[in-house]
Symmetry: none
Subunit: 317 residues, 2 copies
């Protein structure tokens, strides 16, 4: 009993010290002298007050909610980068907010003075982000494309982002003069033997950061719309358990790459190793929920930029 009251008394002191420190804004020296203890003890009381959660701090700003969700996402999926932007329920855009936040993050990386290798995938979301980039001079960096930029008909694919990006930020850039999907594993190996492609492939392994879109599947998936897959193939893939794709790499609901022949025909650079590379996925919206969740589950990506509504879904799943 004596011990109980003593502990309570100590908590009281902690509360008092914490109050003086955080609310009244005094220094620990002042607290020590008013409470008649040493400065070190005052410091201990203050940190005890924090540890015992006697001190509640809160942020009164709309962003607070996003940061909170982000922190939970980070823990749940072991992410190294999270950015949650506010949802705008009134907008039907699939990129609003994500694009700006993605551009900000890309810019942050490009601002570094030491040289980095920045990899990009493709897709509408990523294109929108690139369009938000300011013009910069980054001769120290190299940017490379993880995916081919040739359409199934031989033309340049619509959402090839590497050239738009190189246009905005002046840096050496390494495109992939290939289609995303080729007809066979032999063709892929043949194409990958080109020296130009070889150097890009190697660059992919040493990328510091990669920004990728998350492709959902279905009849109106990007891969179908852009003509890489016809609806029957897509339907077959989905029957085989495909849940989404990143740079063409198909994965199932657990974020494992599919074993079937489809991934043997993907001519993209393998996703950089998540142990050494920050691979940031950009996606939001109901249509991407399943694909994004799978990618996170399987650690295909270790960073994400999304919106509040999507973050809530990912947390509840």
């Amino acid at each position: 009993m004596a011990k109980r009251t003593e502990t309570a008394g100590r908590l009281d002191d902690a509360a008092r010290a914490g109050w003086l420190y955080y609310v009244a804004g005094r220094t620990q020296d002042e607290i020590a002298s008013t409470m008649g203890i040493s400065r070190q003890s005052a410091q201990r009381l203050v940190s005890l007050a924090v540890a015992e959660r006697l001190i509640k701090v809160r942020l009164d700003h709309p962003i607070a909610e996003c940061l909170e969700l982000g922190e939970q996402l980070r823990k749940k999926f072991g992410l190294v980068h999270v950015d949650i932007v506010p949802s705008d329920p009134g907008s039907s855009s699939t990129t609003i907010g994500i694009a700006e936040a993605g551009a900000a993050e890309i810019e942050r990386w490009l601002k570094k003075s030491e040289p980095i290798v920045l990899a990009v995938g493709t897709g509408r979301t990523l294109k929108a982000a690139i369009d938000q980039l300011p013009t910069m001079e980054c001769p120290q960096h190299r940017i490379m494309s993880l995916t081919g930029n040739i359409g199934p008909d031989g033309s340049a694919a619509y959402y090839n982002v590497i050239f738009s990006m190189a246009d905005a930020v002046k840096a050496r850039h390494y495109p992939m003069p290939l289609p995303v999907l080729v007809s066979s594993i032999e063709e892929r190996d043949l194409l990958h033997k080109q020296s130009l492609v070889q150097s890009t492939l190697q660059l992919g392994r040493q990328a510091d950061v990669a920004f990728v879109g998350i492709g959902e599947l279905g009849a109106d998936a990007p891969l179908c719309l852009d003509g890489f897959l016809d609806p029957e193939e897509m339907a077959r893939l989905m029957e085989d358990g495909a849940a989404g794709e990143i740079c063409g790499w198909m994965f199932d609901r657990d974020g494992k790459l599919l074993d079937g022949s489809i991934n043997e025909r993907v001519a993209s650079v393998p996703l950089p190793p998540r142990e050494t590379t920050t691979v940031i996925g950009l996606a939001k919206g109901k249509r991407k929920y399943l694909a994004l969740l799978a990618a996170l589950r399987g650690r295909m990506i270790n960073g994400v930029i999304t919106d509040e509504a999507t973050a809530r879904y990912l947390l509840s799943a």
Copy 2:
């Protein structure tokens, strides 16, 4: 962020930095590197977040001594609400601690789901409390001002709180477009006949809770500083036994409203009946000792938020 010079964007960044610092417990160096800015900028954002009152700190622990004092005060004056915060002997602020505790109590009332009528007085202490309120959505409640918000020169009085409050908590609000003191009883009656004022007057009678400051008298009393009374009038009032005022209503050392003509010129809403309304006075500090004691003695208020030192005085008196 393409446009980094935007003020709103800067506040967003400040919120981010403040959250990372206070909630996530990161150092400013870490914040700087994750946000891609220099440490100094991070420090500035954190202090900006504090300066803009985005960060609200609160102590959530009943300090035994304060509880004890509060209980004694409750018994002695028959109070329905008591809140004692620690004293900071080194601070000259007249609102530190009281403001935060007042805001917490106001918030507690506003969180109720059933609609309430919340009345506020005016004064520096109350203004400081309002400034600590988080933004809330409270369309179910009505907040009303017990006192006029027009200065003696026709301008808006400095410490008018109702608009600041309505700004933070979105609720219907009913100001008093009158001065605190008018020139005669006839003028007051005339002004009170306005329909707008009529509805506010009626609302005052049905208030569920009222938060009021306690005005001390003297040459540097708020009423003098704000120009409602000149020093001679003040001196005369004090000779007549005035000890303090709440919303302009003058009372003597026993907390009885003064009979003299002064109270006939007060245009404020009568204090809500203490039988049905919780009227909470916020005050601390030597200068308010007498006025607060008188208000408690006369049951002008049946709730109080003050500090340890003041509570001790009130108990010893």
